[in-house]
């Protein structure tokens, strides 16, 4: 019952938060819940490893966890835990300054577990239709989170998010139906309903109707691609990320995008297994590259911290897609590694952005005017470290994962793709450096006064970075094994 | 290897004694050409003796650099003199350095002289230093290139080797490379010794002087050392020009007869060269300061051409 429990824990937490009164209890429930999910996730990770390539299934294969799912569960649980830890201080401070009401805070504590449940369901559901529905759940719960502050801009962002996301989901549903239809036709339309399970479809992949699968992938690519923020469907992403409360931004950027990528990957695996060509791979590669290329100019001319971070996420999602698209053992492994490291880094960036916003009431670089190392030393330190990490500088792991992808690209004959990747990485780096140097350094103004932040809160914010460093210096063999299995799944190896 | 102590002593003496005479000679001849009687050719010796006996006034702003400079200038000139073959094909300090060391040591002297010019906080000194360093910055590469031309032919940068190679079969001066290099070197000689049209050694007109401006604060024995050093440098450069381009008559061994013959040849060549310098000084006017680089660039280009022609005509 491991999978069911994983799903139930956050759901129950969400439901309980609907009813409990004291805020401290809600905070504790959230944190406890996500700690539970993390523990269960680690358990699942071991369970999957113990299966040695096979998947853990429950409810007659309704829920299914293979190495890829287990990896995603770990990412979700870590980011959710980080978010719930950070949210405590964030919302307390919002409440004291009167920016948020108690009702809104409750909304957050209810919706965040729901959001997490949706994401967990996406990765654990075997049925593609259920997976779609779960993605919709994540979209809806996160829309309300984006609109939490009820400012004009946050409503605008939420509207764009929900319309573009909704549209994407309709398209994805269309694609999902085509995939299902592709499974029906070869069976000759028998009375029994064919199973809509991914594992089932994969097993009969060679018999699927290739035309329908192609069509399905096109729609799914545009649909889930919108949710994953692939350019040019990414336009909602900077708006939503910048307007959401920072904990939510962290969730959105840290895992939500990757969940959509995960959904896309499931179809990619299916399509490749059916067609046996590089069709879906090349599309992923193209969209990924375009996303990476597009992120650069926006970061170079960015004025808003969180929007800059959002475009950085766009770039990283693009990188992951490109890496998968290159389909070499090293690149896919690198992509998975990159997902993990990025999930540990991005939340910290958004957390610090949240602190800055609460301190200065703006995220505009020119209005803040620099000098953060003076006014908010702890936040500035974390921001600097995380930015170095996200720019792919050692000793942080993203350097390793990016270089792994590049090496894989070079050795698998994608020399020019690798060159483009490297170039975009450098461009983005230039933008991030330029903006952050202006933000962090400098004499700073006398106003506002120095931030006060306790060591505990710094820990609560920055521990993912510690984890990042730890896992950069020492990657347990079991984790590597899991990722290698997952990369085998993505590359369609038996 | 062994250091020939006698040769060193002899050449040092020669340098110390001959250098003021050469300066006096040039001054005298110039005066004659200008229809003046001029000072006697021995005048520089009297001047030096007088400077050495005079009390010194040192600027209160000056530091030990000011004090050290005369010694450095004097010693580098002497050292350079010991590296250049004069009477014998083998210079006494040949092994300690060839053309590059000669240029380097001259530069060291100039470096300190320029610092000495800056030290007393006088605007004149600074002006002189600035001009001196600028002009030498262009003169030095020209000099180096023209020596390179010979060095490449000889396969060595050691001046003795160059001389020996020059003494070999065949009259090399007709070689265009040699001629061009000689022309370049001659211009450098004019610049390095502060002759018209680059500098006027006889003037103290504030705005035109270069070398003299740096010495303005020196007096007494320091002035003597510097002047003496300058005339040694002039002798050395002329010897360089005379001996490496026209390596006739240099003694191959150290028998008194050969050395005596070498001395005669040497003096003869110096006299000719001094005559040429005097004629050039007599027939030209001093150039405007910012025209001088053009002249020196011409030297640089001549030297480059010399080098190219070794490549073309070999």
């Amino acid at each position: 019952m491991l999978l069911t429990t994983i799903l139930c824990v956050p759901l129950v937490v969400g439901l309980l938060c609907l009813f409990v009164r004291p805020r401290a209890l809600m905070e504790a429930l959230n944190i406890a819940g996500f700690v539970g999910v993390l523990v269960l996730g680690v358990k699942l990770f071991h369970a999957v490893l113990a299966k040695n390539g096979a998947a853990v299934t429950e409810w007659n294969e309704f829920l299914r966890a293979d190495a890829l799912s287990a990896w995603m569960v770990l990412l979700i649980s870590v980011v959710s835990l980080a978010t719930s830890l950070y949210a405590v201080r964030y919302f307390r401070s919002d409440l004291t300054s009167g920016i948020a009401t108690a009702r809104r805070v409750r909304e957050f504590y209810v919706l965040t577990p729901t959001f997490a449940t949706g994401m967990l369901l996406v990765v654990l559901a075997n049925n593609l239709g259920v997976m779609w529905a779960a993605v919709e759940v994540t979209a809806l719960s996160s829309v309300l989170l984006v609109a939490l502050y009820n400012r004009k801009t946050s409503l605008e962002a939420a509207w764009k998010y929900v319309m573009l996301g909704g549209l994407g989901l309709v398209l994805a549903l269309f694609g999902t139906i085509f995939a299902y239809a592709a499974a029906i036709s070869p069976t000759g339309g028998g009375a029994h309903l064919p199973s809509f399970n991914w594992s089932h479809l994969l097993a009969m992949a060679p018999q699927l109707n290739p035309h329908l699968i192609t069509l399905a992938f096109v729609f799914v690519l545009v649909g889930y691609g919108t949710k994953a923020g692939l350019a040019p469907m990414h336009t909602w992403l900077p708006d939503a990320h910048s307007e959401a409360p920072s904990p939510t931004s962290a969730m959105l950027s840290g895992v939500s995008l990757k969940i959509a990528v995960y959904a896309l990957l499931r179809f990619h695996i299916l399509t490749t297994a059916c067609l046996g060509t590089g069709y879906s791979r090349n599309l992923l590669l193209g969209f990924g590259l375009f996303s990476m290329l597009l992120a650069g100019p926006f970061i170079l001319t960015q004025k808003n911290l969180k929007r800059m971070l959002a475009y950085s996420s766009l770039e990283h999602v693009g990188l992951i897609c490109v890496a998968v698209g290159m389909n070499a053992p090293l690149t896919v492994f690198g992509a998975l590694l990159h997902m993990g490291y990025h999930a540990l880094t991005k939340p910290v960036l958004f957390f610090t952005a949240g602190n800055i916003h609460q301190h200065y009431h703006t995220l505009d670089f020119t209005r803040i005017g620099g000098g953060l190392v003076r006014t908010m030393p702890a936040t500035a330190l974390l921001l600097g470290l995380a930015a170095a990490a996200v720019s792919g500088l050692p000793p942080f792991g993203l350097f390793v994962s990016e270089l792994t992808v590049l090496v894989g690209g070079f050795t698998s004959g994608h020399v020019w793709v690798s060159v483009v990747i490297l170039t975009t990485l450098i461009i983005v780096f230039c933008g991030v450096l330029d903006k952050l140097a202006g933000l962090l350094l400098g004499p700073g103004h006398a106003e506002p006064p120095r931030e006060t932040i306790s060591a505990g809160h710094i820990m609560a914010m920055g521990w993912p970075l510690g984890a990042l460093l730890l896992f950069t210096a020492w990657l347990p063999g079991s984790v590597r094994q899991l990722m290698e299995q997952a990369s085998g799944i993505i590359r369609g190896l038996p | 290897m062994k250091l020939d102590l006698l040769a060193i002593l002899a050449q040092t003496a020669l340098l110390l004694l001959l250098a003021p005479l050469l300066s006096g000679l040039i001054k005298n001849w110039k005066a004659k050409l200008q229809n003046r009687r001029g000072a006697p050719v021995w005048q520089p010796y009297f001047d030096l003796a007088k400077f050495l006996r005079k009390d010194m006034v040192i600027s209160e702003h000056a530091s030990w650099i000011f004090t050290a400079t005369p010694y450095v200038v004097f010693l580098t000139a002497l050292l350079v003199g010991l590296m250049v073959p004069m009477l014998t094909a083998h210079a006494p300090l040949d092994l300690f350095g060839g053309a590059l060391a000669v240029i380097g040591l001259l530069a060291l002297g100039r470096f300190f002289l320029a610092l000495g010019g800056l030290d007393p906080a006088s605007a004149f000194g600074g002006m002189g230093s600035s001009r001196e360093m600028t002009l030498s910055a262009i003169a030095e590469p020209a000099m180096m290139l023209s020596i390179f031309t010979l060095a490449i032919t000889a396969g060595s940068t050691n001046l003795s080797q160059i001389v020996l190679a020059g003494q070999g079969p065949g009259w090399k001066f007709l070689d265009p490379a040699h001629a061009l290099a000689f022309a370049a070197m001659f211009i450098v000689l004019l610049a390095e010794t502060g002759r018209i049209p680059v500098d006027n050694p006889a003037t103290h007109l504030e705005l035109t002087m270069i070398h003299e401006a740096m010495l303005l604060e020196y007096s007494g024995r320091y002035l003597a050392f510097i002047e003496w050093g300058a005339s040694i440098k002039q002798l050395v450069l002329m010897a360089l020009l005379a001996n490496i381009f026209f390596p006739v008559g240099l003694a191959a061994d150290t028998t008194p007869a050969a050395v005596g013959l070498g001395l005669l040849w040497f003096v003869g060549k110096l006299l000719v060269l001094a005559g040429v310098v005097v004629v050039v000084e007599f027939t030209n006017a001093k150039l405007r300061l910012f025209r001088v680089p053009d002249l020196l660039s011409a030297a640089f280009i001549l030297a480059t051409l010399a080098l190219v022609s070794t490549f073309l005509f070999r």
Partner: protein, 683 residues
């Protein structure tokens, strides 16, 4: 695990830096302790590393390079292996030597930051920088090399931005980091090309890989490495970060960057060109030689135009890197034309100049730091007269100035002499037109040397001599013992390297054996090591020691004259001659700008100086009441390449940015069009 002695010393040194960094952070609150701990640890580590390198090099060519792993591998293919071969040991010596001297200096220098800045952070980053640099030169694996390379850039950025309150510093830091990231990108691509051919990450597997690579890829790799390492080394026109970043960093860091950090570029080029790629085409050498020559000349010309002491020194770094590259380029050309002995000779010239530049540039930057420490300004126009106020610093600076101007008998002269000899010998090695490049480079090297001398007359003369030009300079005091110790150490090294070249060249034997298979120290030494010969005594000889001794022997001449003639003369102190006016004021002195004016005029075409004169007058323009004169020299590369490029990129970015201009309808349209295109073309 039993390690040979050099390796043990190396490990001790690495651990020492690490402990220094960590300790410095731990003691952050108590700055005295933090500074003492950090820089003390760094000093000892530097000493340990220096000894290790010396032991290894002194062992001769036969010693097997020690090899070990720092950590267990992260992922099976990512190893952190270290190998101390001769090339690494040579650069380890350089890093550690400078680390030792600069750390000792920093013990005193850091006091200037007490109460003002966080010294703990400075110490930590400094140790991390030295650690990363050390790792860079001893890394035996692409991964470790790249990681160390990037950490080096990162820590150096943090140190450059240490005094980030100043706008100029921030800008310089950003420029530096951007350039070094581009350089890392090029290096990564180069290594990827190598890896593609070798399939293994260890440096051992890359040895002489060039023979197995396709010529196109080999050339591409060479160009990428030239770009990458060239940016780090600061070759023209990739140098623009260097004069920006070096001056604004704390002076000990500037010294380290100028002395050591840019040498890692040289290390990379040497490693790649001689160890990895091997058998170079002729044009590689020609490129290096040309680039080196251009860098040397332009570097010194721009240096002359500076009146910021540290910027001036930074431009000289470009010049000297150019000289080093001339040696390396000539060596590559000789390798191509089949003259390994000559190649070795040119390589020795390059390597010798590398360590020389490290020592005298380190020394000069430390001197500049001491001056900055005492006067709180980098502007030479506000200095003057410091030789009386800080005599020891002035003396050390003078030694550095003489050395960098390539004047005998100090070390700069020796290595430039070697370079000249290599260039001259090169003339006979090939019949192609290319041989003309040797003497021409030689001539330009001569120009460079002469201009450098002019520049250091200016730098030393204006800074230390004459009257103080400002109150800051007036009240300057000599710096503390630790700082003097650091400078003195490097000054001694300058002198030793200058006077004992034949002994030092022997240490290079293992290096040349490794890279070109030749050992020529015996041929370079004549007369029992007193004289440095260019391969044979006939080719040319020089003896700095001999010259020095001879100068001492000749001293009796002037002193004799003194004794004979001037025993009774008196020395009087008096005012400088003031043309009969009422005393000279500092404002009448020659300025740094004025000093270099003739050169500015001569090279007008290059500098394109802009001048701006404003006169105010009452009735006649000949009687001005007030004149304002401004003159700027802007670097042509900045003006013609980098700025337009930056503007172009930003403009294009703004243009692209308009796709996201807020209308949801357009956003929907993008998706719609994407879908339609996919439906039409991708099905």
């Amino acid at each position: 695990m039993s390690l040979p002695m050099p390796a043990t010393l190396l490990v001790i040194s690495l651990c020492g830096y690490l402990i220094g960094a960590v300790g410095s952070l731990l003691f952050m609150r108590r700055e005295r302790l933090a500074a003492g701990f950090a820089f003390g640890a760094a000093t000892l580590s530097g000493l340990s590393g220096l000894l290790g390198a010396l032991f290894f090099l002194a062992g001769g060519a036969g010693v097997a390079p020690p090899q070990f792993e720092l950590f267990p591998p992260l992922i099976p293919y990512i190893h952190f292996s270290v190998r101390l071969d001769a090339l690494s040991a040579f650069f380890l010596m350089l890093v550690s030597l400078l680390g030792l001297a600069i750390s000792a200096y920093s013990l005193g220098y850091a006091k200037g930051f007490f109460g003002r800045k966080n010294v703990g952070v400075l110490g930590a980053f400094y140790n991390a920088l030295v650690l990363a640099t050390t790792l860079t030169v001893v890394a035996d694996n692409i991964w470790l090399f790249l990681i160390a390379w990037e950490i080096m850039a990162l820590t150096a950025y943090c140190l450059v931005s240490f005094e980030h309150e100043i706008v100029e510093t921030r800008k310089a830091g950003v420029l530096y980091f951007i350039m070094s990231h581009i350089d890392a990108g090029c290096v990564i691509l180069g290594f990827l090309l190598l890896f593609q051919a070798s399939g293994d990450y260890s440096f051992a597997s890359l040895h002489n890989l060039g023979a197995e690579m396709a010529p196109g890829k080999r050339d591409a790799a060479f160009l990428l490495f030239l770009l990458g390492f060239g940016i780090k080394a600061g070759i023209v026109p990739l140098h623009i970060w260097l004069p920006a970043a070096h001056p604004v960093a704390p002076s000990n860091v500037s010294a380290f960057m100028s002395g050591v950090l840019i040498k890692t570029g040289i290390y990379g080029l040497t490693r790649v060109c001689f160890d990895f790629l091997g058998a170079p085409p002729l044009w590689w050498g020609v490129t290096l030689l040309t680039v080196g020559t251009i860098s040397a000349v332009l570097g010194v010309l721009y240096a002359l135009m500076e009146h910021d002491l540290k910027r001036l020194l930074a431009y000289h770094s470009i010049e000297n890197i150019g000289i080093i590259l001339m040696g390396l380029g000539a060596a590559l050309m000789f390798l191509n034309t089949g003259h390994p002995v000559l190649a070795t000779f040119a390589l020795i010239a390059g390597m010798y100049h590398t360590i020389n530049h490290a020592t005298f540039k380190g020394l000069l930057f430390l001197g500049a730091g001491a001056v900055l420490h005492a006067t709180h300004t980098r502007n030479m126009e506000e200095m003057g007269g410091l030789i009386k106020r800080m005599p020891q610093t002035a003396f050390y600076f003078l030694i550095g100035a003489v050395a960098i101007s390539a004047l005998p008998p100090l070390n700069g002269f020796v290595s430039e002499w070697l370079t000249y000899q290599a260039l001259l010998q090169g003339f006979g090695t090939t019949e192609s037109m290319m041989r003309l490049i040797f003497p021409l480079s030689g001539a330009l090297l001569a120009l460079t040397g002469a201009l450098a001398a002019a520049c250091f007359v200016k730098a030393f003369g204006i800074t230390f001599l004459a009257q103080p030009r400002s109150a800051h300079a007036e009240h300057a005091h000599e710096v503390g013992p630790a700082m003097r110790l650091g400078m003195g150490l490097l000054a001694v090294v300058c002198v030793v390297l200058g006077l004992f070249p034949t002994q030092f060249v022997r240490l290079l034997d293992p290096l040349t054996q490794q890279l070109t298979g030749q050992q020529i120290s015996v041929q370079l030494s004549a007369a029992n090591g007193l004289v440095l010969a260019s391969l044979s005594e006939k080719g040319g000889t020089v003896s700095t020691l001999g010259i020095t001794l001879m100068a001492v022997c000749l001293l009796p001449v002037p002193f004799g004259l003194w004794l004979v003639f001037s025993r009774k003369t008196k020395v009087r102190r008096g005012p400088t001659w003031d043309c009969g006016q009422r005393g000279l004021t500092p404002r009448m002195e020659y300025t740094a700008t004025g000093f270099s004016k003739p050169i500015r005029m001569i090279f007008k075409a290059l500098f394109q100086p802009r001048r701006d004169v404003q006169r105010e007058y009452d009735f006649s323009p000949y009687f001005a009441t007030n004149i304002r004169f401004e003159s700027h020299v802007e670097e042509v590369f900045e003006q013609r390449i980098y700025r337009p490029l930056r503007i172009l990129i930003l403009r294009v970015s703004r243009r692209i940015r308009t796709i996201q201009h807020g209308s949801i309808h357009f956003y929907l349209l993008y998706i719609f069009i994407t879908l339609l295109l996919l439906l039409m073309f991708a099905l």
